[in-house]
């Protein structure tokens, strides 16, 4: 790998992101590539007992709450073109980061394919029902919830870990229910999400090295204003959240998402609150009428 010859921040960023992306790419190619049709035991659904359950719409494999979960996850994944486009607009001049967004989009696209496949093969949704749902979902468009590259890296780190936690819980649920198809689906997809969260964390690590106070303020701001994409995008999302497994509780997100992320950068929860207050005070002082020129 080439070493940075220049001390300029832009050069350092580009070189560092290149290295991080190459490590991400290499590991993904060697250990994480999977095929939605070949690497999932779909034949289990053709076993006579399961096929009978599907036909009769009985059994754990075909419960409506499974459909609600998968349909909701699929819906969020359907906005990958928007996520990728907006991510690329922010990062196009940084090779490693832009190429990560492209790879991320490819990997996430398999998630939507797989959820759709289960919905249809299980009979939980007919093709017509699915197509109607997809059309309704895509009436909306996703826009950046935060405006800077660094803020979106904070958002990505939190959103990916939250998604991983949701999928990990799903995997354990379907292990207990002896559904090997859904176990493998959430195993493969969860692994991708964990890798995505790891890349965003490494990106943020660089940001904390370059500007620790600014990065801390951005992370605190994103935590304070965080919401999962489904809130704005998926119809009846509040109602869907009543279905066990669609989301995670505030407690789980705090304990297994926010706290570990803060710890990653040497922050305590008090540090986070102090950074948040600093940012809010600065923004308030810059508002018209604040008296500050």
């Amino acid at each position: 790998m080439l070493q940075a010859k220049s001390a300029s921040p832009k050069y350092r960023r580009r070189e560092r992101m290149y290295r991080e992306y190459m490590e991400f790419f290499d590991r993904a190619e060697k250990t994480r590539r999977w095929h939605p049709f070949n690497d999932i035991p779909w034949e289990w659904m053709q076993r006579s007992t399961i096929a009978e359950q599907i036909s009769d719409k009985k059994g754990l494999a075909t419960e409506e709450n499974v459909a609600t979960c998968l349909e909701t996850f699929c819906a969020v994944e359907l906005f990958i073109p928007d996520y990728t486009q907006n991510g690329l607009n922010l990062s196009r001049e940084i090779f490693g980061q832009a190429w990560f967004h492209l790879a991320w989009g490819y990997e996430e696209s398999k998630h939507a394919l797989t959820f759709r496949e289960y919905l249809l093969r299980s009979g939980l949704r007919t093709l017509e029902q699915y197509m109607d749902f997809e059309e309704k979902i895509l009436e909306k468009q996703w826009y950046l919830p935060f405006q800077t590259n660094r803020e979106m890296a904070c958002y990505g780190a939190l959103q990916e870990v939250a998604t991983y936690l949701i999928y990990a819980a799903q995997r354990e649920k379907y292990k207990a229910e002896n559904n090997p198809v859904l176990v493998q689906i959430f195993n493969l997809i969860g692994r991708d999400e964990a890798a995505h969260a790891s890349f965003y964390r490494k990106f943020l690590q660089f940001e904390f090295e370059e500007d620790p106070l600014g990065a801390a303020e951005d992370l605190a701001h994103v935590i304070a204003n965080f919401q999962m994409p489904g809130v704005e995008l998926v119809p009846d999302f509040d109602q869907r959240l009543q279905t066990d497994g669609v989301g995670i509780s505030t407690q789980v997100f705090l304990q297994r998402g926010i706290m570990p992320t803060l710890k990653e950068y040497g922050m305590t929860r008090r540090d986070m609150l102090q950074a948040l207050h600093r940012r809010r005070e600065r923004e308030a002082s810059l508002k018209p009428g604040s008296g500050r020129i």
């Binding site: 605190a220 304070a224 505030t250 407690q251 706290m259 929860r269 008090r270 609150l273």
Partner: protein
Amino acid sequence: MNAVNLNEAFVTDLIQQAFIYALPERKEKMERLNLQSTIHDLGIQSVAALEMAGFIEDRLNVQFSDDELAAINKLEDFATLIFKYS
């Protein structure tokens, strides 16, 4: 008024103050606050819960553990921590 009631009143008042500190825009909800209220029902998101905890910690000069904080579901759980650490 016996000592137990006074403590409960103090703790409830402290939690209400912490709620107003963290969520001043929801002050009107304080009328309906009781210790059985869940943080979800009150719209207390992660940062607000941490701000409430920080407020209480500063008032009592204590430090709650992160794991116990993350487990808070109802305002009663704040009360439990207050009694435990005081």
